[in-house]
């Protein structure tokens, strides 16, 4: 019951926090002046008339009410206005279309990075202060110090260009449709057709980006796991576990690993959340039509509808993730009870 109450309380706080930040974002961005440049022979009066017709001259709070009504009643998040690539496009459609490649690349990256990283961490912890540990720790330090775009550039040049082992950039839907005529694949803008993503060509073309992203994650997980596990392995309860007759591997897997996962698992959840904002540099290098940089670009361009929709989305995801992470402690370690007194 206390857990239920705790969740209700957290959700209530989430709603309040969301509302305050959302309204603040709306008001602040609308307070910025709308600047526009005028080229030769362009009619300034017409540009201003268009801004008025968009309702930009109305009081900010009135604009906020109209904006919220539009979202709630029509599910309409607005239309891109300033960013050249998305001018005149429904912001929700653009976002939904750009989200899948970003998520997929990051999930593939995590699927590779998590088991390898944790395995390396466990191995290093078990071989603490031996040459294997030193080797892994040194490699981890080297790998973690190099930013992912360096791996991306190296992979692009060596693996994709010189070795011709993988495509230079991600496949387009037109390529996929052409390669599988028998599947009658159709691409409809603003919708998600999973068959266009889950096929060999698309998977292979994503691999350079996936590898570029996972090196750093592998090193991160290895270092974190090693540190946590090393600490747990030296705990007194491990000695107790051994003295009650468990083998080293039994004690490690059943007790040490389980305890060390308490801080590791939330970091995995946290990484999945950050996945949604994408990686601007990696996406640029491999020409991935993802969401990386979209938020930043919308701020720079003062594209209100994009900015507000993305603000709301990331805010909501961030708040939910915080809740999920907190609740996950209890799942991993039953001794932890959220909200219990």
């Amino acid at each position: 019951m206390y857990m239920f109450k705790y969740i209700c309380k957290r959700i209530g706080l989430m709603v309040v926090t969301f509302t305050i930040i959302f309204v603040t974002c709306f008001v602040l961005v609308k307070l910025l002046p709308v600047d526009y440049s005028v080229g030769f022979g362009e009619d300034t009066a017409k540009i201003e008339a268009q801004l008025r017709a968009r309702g930009y001259d109305k009081p900010i709070m009135e604009q906020l009410v109209l904006y919220l009504k539009r979202i709630v009643l029509d599910g309409d998040f607005g239309i891109g206005f300033r960013m050249p690539e998305y001018r005149g496009r429904a912001v929700w459609d653009v976002f939904i279309e750009k989200l899948p490649p970003t998520i997929l690349i990051n999930i593939y990256s995590s699927l590779i990075a998590i088991p390898i990283g944790i395995a390396l961490g466990i191995f290093a912890a078990l071989k603490k202060n031996k040459w294997q540990d030193h080797f892994i720790s040194t490699a981890v330090m080297v790998v973690i110090s190099v930013p992912s775009f360096v791996y991306a550039s190296l992979l692009l040049f060596i693996v994709c260009f010189k070795m011709d082992a993988l495509p230079l950039n991600i496949a387009s839907f037109a390529d996929i449709i052409k390669m599988y005529p028998e599947k009658n694949l159709v691409y409809t803008p603003g919708t998600f057709n999973w068959a266009l993503y889950f096929n060999k060509e698309m998977f292979l073309s994503m691999l350079p980006a996936v590898f570029s992203m996972c090196f750093g994650s592998i090193a991160g997980y290895a270092r974190f796991t090693r540190a946590e596990l090393t600490e747990v392995l030296t705990s007194e309860f491990m000695l107790l576990a051994r003295t009650k007759g468990l083998t080293k591997s039994q004690a490690t897997v059943r007790h040490a690993l389980r305890n060390s996962m308490v801080p590791i698992f939330p970091s995995i959840v946290g990484e999945f959340v950050s996945v949604l904002s994408g990686s601007l540099v990696i996406e640029k290098i491999f020409s991935i039509p993802g969401v990386g940089g979209l938020y930043l670009a919308s701020i720079n361009a003062k594209d209100y509808d994009f900015f507000m929709m993305l603000s709301a989305f990331y805010l909501l995801v961030g708040l939910l993730a915080g809740l999920v992470i907190d609740l996950s402690y209890g799942v991993i370690d039953p001794r932890i009870r959220m909200g219990a007194k």
């Binding site: 009619d43 009066a45 050249p84 496009r89 010189k162 387009s172 060999k200 998977f203 640029k284 039509p289």
Partner: protein
């Protein structure tokens, strides 16, 4: 126990499902190919069966890339070159340029011919509309045209195109509920359709500049019981402090407050409402009278007071039948009536160059699709929008290619439009060899470069980082454009002073000798070589791409008048040279010794005037819209040149340059005086240098906005423009000279292109260019050239740039390899081609 197993199971399931979803599909063999090379564009569907054998038709695909994906290619709303990349393939022209060939079929360099394309005839029918509601002046030409369309024009879906479609489209273009971005193309530029502006503006309630219309004097106004004057119909009229006024050359009264009576200005400001407007009363009339009666403002008389007013006005409704575009006598005749003469035909009745320049086509939309794409405004918004031409489904083509696929931010593909009339035109036989155009969005140049070397794209610009290795390639070609990159130096003294802090000086930039020194300190040739791929040093506001007489191929920069301007500005005495060309060739724009003397002179003057202290450092902020490697390289070069400049002068070791990113607002911030130096320039109006001067003389466009061209006078003798060819000597402000040059309404003389031969106008263009250059707010650095590499797969018809035809485009492009042969050729070199 249960939770332990469920956790494990969940994780295992998640892993398994995701991996299987991806990898299971890997077992499927894609039809027709084993390769994983996603850019292999060999079209396996284009094959035919002959007696049981499959013979593949050769296909020709042009693979290219763009850094920014287009968003909409709607002719009514497109905003930039990014959008036009698809538009240029899916539309057609009434009239077009073409290469001029000699009797051997060789291209005549620099020349062109005019051709009819989608139109078969153009007639000047101005005489038919004299004395009608269209108000065409008696005896005038170029006011009304009848365009006869081909009868075989069709959309890609086979729907016929007739004159009424162009009329429908124009109605949509000018629709006041939509406020289309391109609506002003038909009333604010060279093409002014009768009543187009009134149609767009109808229903708008706005404030009109009284100085522009000259509608009211104070005597015309009605005084209310509260002492506030109104228009005779009771609508409001105000003094405007913060709105641009024609009387202030497009600037606001506030912008000129330093020249006006300070006390009166403060009083008016106190009375202004939130829009910066002040009610007209006897008191405020007295205040404005006092405001403009100053030495700096030339003691304007009280009768000029109404020029500072704006009045409320609602544009009346306009019937589209009163807009100057309609169907002629047959359904293929389109009649256009203009408010301003536009010479589309030469005296002999043939097409002038302006036919393809100003009237290449009129906008055209597919009526049925367009209506389906309209989006109603939501609550609180009155603007209608449209998603026409923003996806495959919403796109219609009447050009040589049609859109086959479009994935935003990734790729678009165009294929031949079999319904295009041009493929049935005899003279196009053998042209348009390209079957398919594939354009990938690749943001990073390095990624695109690798694709080019791998044979996956067929053309690329050469980046400065590889320029040394590839500029000499046999596949390299160099394209000039009309952009002159210039340093812009801050002209707002008040702002310079306001940003000074203890020990930091900026106002020395207000000394013309100092600015000239900054100009002379830059070795333009070296700058262009080291910081650009292939650009050339630039000295004037115009370069070789600016034509003053297009019909005769006469470039402004090649005229004697223009050459003398450069010699005067860069202190080259052309009388000492055998020819003017030799004198121009001697110009380097770089003279460190003279520059140092100028620094010393400016410093001494500033010191004497108390504008700088002996311990002050000169600290210049160099702003940009983005600080990337290329921009930083250029700024570093200039900063080092200026540090070298002050060596041996009193400012040695006392000049610093900082770099700052001002983002998208960089230009407006500079104009507002927020920083000291930027690099900018203008492109456009390359065939009208007289009009192009707008960029350097009108406060609406000038970077050096605080330089008052409405006050700065020039005394000049216009040779041979008076009656019987007499000379005319006048002293006028630069803006007044500009207005005369362009025949603006209210100008003292009409020396526009329609009133004077270009050869006579040239002298005034040169005089105004010199005026701009000699104040050194704009310091030209280089004339832009772009260097590119073309793949071995394709060839242009010529590699000598033609202003009218470029390199011939897709129309004349030929292929050395079809797609299959190219793939084999690339494989021969292990996927790495050598273009050195």
């Amino acid at each position: 126990m249960n939770s332990k197993f469920s956790l494990k199971r969940s994780l295992a399931m998640l892993l398994a499902v995701l991996m299987m979803l991806s990898l299971a599909a890997c077992n499927t063999t894609p039809s027709g190919t084993e390769t994983t090379d996603t850019t292999d564009t060999t079209d396996t569907t284009g094959s035919e069966t002959t007696g049981g054998e499959v013979t593949a038709e050769p296909t020709y695909t042009y693979n290219t890339y763009t850094a920014l994906s287009p968003s909409n290619w709607n002719e009514l709303t497109y905003q930039d070159n990014n959008d036009t990349q698809i538009m240029s393939y899916i539309g057609s022209s009434f009239f077009s340029y073409d290469f001029k060939f000699d009797e051997n079929g060789e291209i005549l360099p620099g020349e062109f011919v005019m051709k009819y394309d989608a139109a078969t005839k153009l007639e000047d029918v101005s005489a038919q509309y004299v004395g009608t509601k269209w108000n065409v002046p008696e005896g005038a030409t170029g006011y009304a045209y009848k365009i006869t369309l081909r009868e075989d024009l069709k959309w890609d879906d086979g729907t016929p195109i007739k004159a009424e479609d162009f009329v429908y489209t124009m109605q949509q273009q000018l629709d006041p509920l939509v406020q289309n971005y391109r609506a002003d193309s038909f009333y604010a530029g060279a093409t002014v359709i009768v009543n187009a502006q009134n149609y767009v503006y109808q229903g708008q309630n706005t404030y009109v500049d009284n100085s522009q219309t000259g509608l009211y004097t104070v005597a015309d106004l009605v005084k209310g019981e509260d002492g506030v004057y109104t228009q005779p119909d009771g609508k409001a009229i105000y003094f405007a402090l913060t709105e641009p006024l024609s009387w202030c050359s497009g600037n606001t009264v506030t912008a000129y407050s330093a020249y006006l009576d300070a006390e009166a200005f403060a009083s008016l400001q106190a009375l202004a409402n939130e829009d910066g407007r002040v009610a007209v009363t006897d008191d405020t009339i007295a205040l404005v009278t006092k405001l403009i009666d100053t030495d700096d403002w030339g003691h304007e008389p009280p009768e000029n007071v109404p020029y500072y007013m704006v009045y409320n006005y609602e544009y009346p409704a306009v019937d589209f039948a009163d807009v100057g575009i309609f169907v002629g006598d047959t359904e293929y005749e389109l009649v256009l009536v203009l408010s301003k003469s536009l010479p589309l035909l030469k005296e002999d009745g043939s097409l002038s160059y302006q036919a393809a320049y100003n009237m290449a086509s009129l906008p055209l939309v597919h009526k049925e699709k367009f209506e389906a794409c309209k989006i109603e405004p939501t609550e609180g918004v009155t603007l209608w929008t449209s998603n026409y031409n923003s996806s495959v489904e919403t796109t219609a083509s009447w050009g040589p290619y049609k859109l086959e696929s479009f994935q935003a931010g990734k790729q678009y593909v165009l294929v031949k439009n079999e319904n295009w009339y041009g493929y049935n035109v005899e003279e196009n036989a053998g042209l348009y060899q390209t079957d398919r155009i594939v354009c990938d969005t690749i943001t990073e140049w390095n990624a695109a470069w690798l694709k080019f070397l791998a044979g996956e794209i067929d053309g690329i610009g050469i980046d400065v980082t590889v320029a040394d290795d590839y500029k000499g390639s046999e596949r390299a070609y160099f394209t000039p454009d009309d952009f002159v990159a210039s340093l812009q130096l801050q002209s707002d003294v008040e702002q310079l002073k306001a940003r000074e802090t203890d020990g930091i000086n900026k106002s020395i930039l207000s000394y013309v000798d100092f600015r000239k020194a900054l100009s002379l300190a830059i070795n333009r040739n070296d700058f262009a070589t080291k910081t650009t791929t292939s650009s050339m040093e630039g000295f004037g506001l115009f370069n070789s791409m600016h034509y003053y007489d297009v019909e005769n191929g006469a470039a402004y920069r090649n005229s004697d008048e223009a050459k003398k301007v450069l010699c005067d500005i860069y202190n080259v005495d052309y009388t000492q040279y055998e020819t003017l060309d030799a004198a121009v060739d001697a110009i380097t724009g770089y003279d460190l010794e003279a520059a140092r003397a100028l620094v010393t002179k400016a410093y001494d003057e500033a010191l004497a005037a108390g504008d700088i202290k002996e311990t002050d450092k000169v600290f210049l902020t160099f702003g940009s819209g983005a600080i990337n490697e290329t921009v930083q390289r250029r700024i570093d070069y200039i900063a080092n040149a200026w540090k070298e400049l002050v060596v041996g002068t009193p400012l040695e070791g006392r000049l610093e340059v900082e770099t700052k990113d001002f983002g998208d607002a960089w230009a407006n911030d500079f104009r507002a005086g927020a920083y000291d130096v930027c690099m900018g320039g203008w492109t456009g109006a390359a065939w009208d240098p007289g009009y192009f001067l707008l960029a350097y003389l009108s406060p609406s466009y000038m970077y050096s906005k605080a330089w008052n061209t409405a006050e700065q006078t020039m005394t000049f003798t216009m040779a041979g423009v008076g009656e019987d060819g007499a000379d005319v000597t006048e002293t006028m402000t630069l803006l007044e000279w500009y207005d005369c040059l362009n025949g603006a309404s209210g100008a003292k003389y009409d020396w526009s292109a329609t009133a004077l031969p270009q050869s006579l106008r040239l002298q005034l263009i040169a005089a105004l260019e010199k005026e701009v250059l000699q104040v050194y707010y704009t310091v030209p650095l280089y004339n832009n050239f772009s260097a590119s590499l073309l793949s071995y797969k394709v060839d242009y018809i010529t590699y000598e740039y033609n202003t009218f035809m470029s390199y011939g485009g897709m129309k004349y492009m030929t292929y050395n390899f079809d797609d299959a042969a190219w793939a084999a050729e690339v494989a021969k070199y292990d996927g790495e081609l050598n273009y050195k």
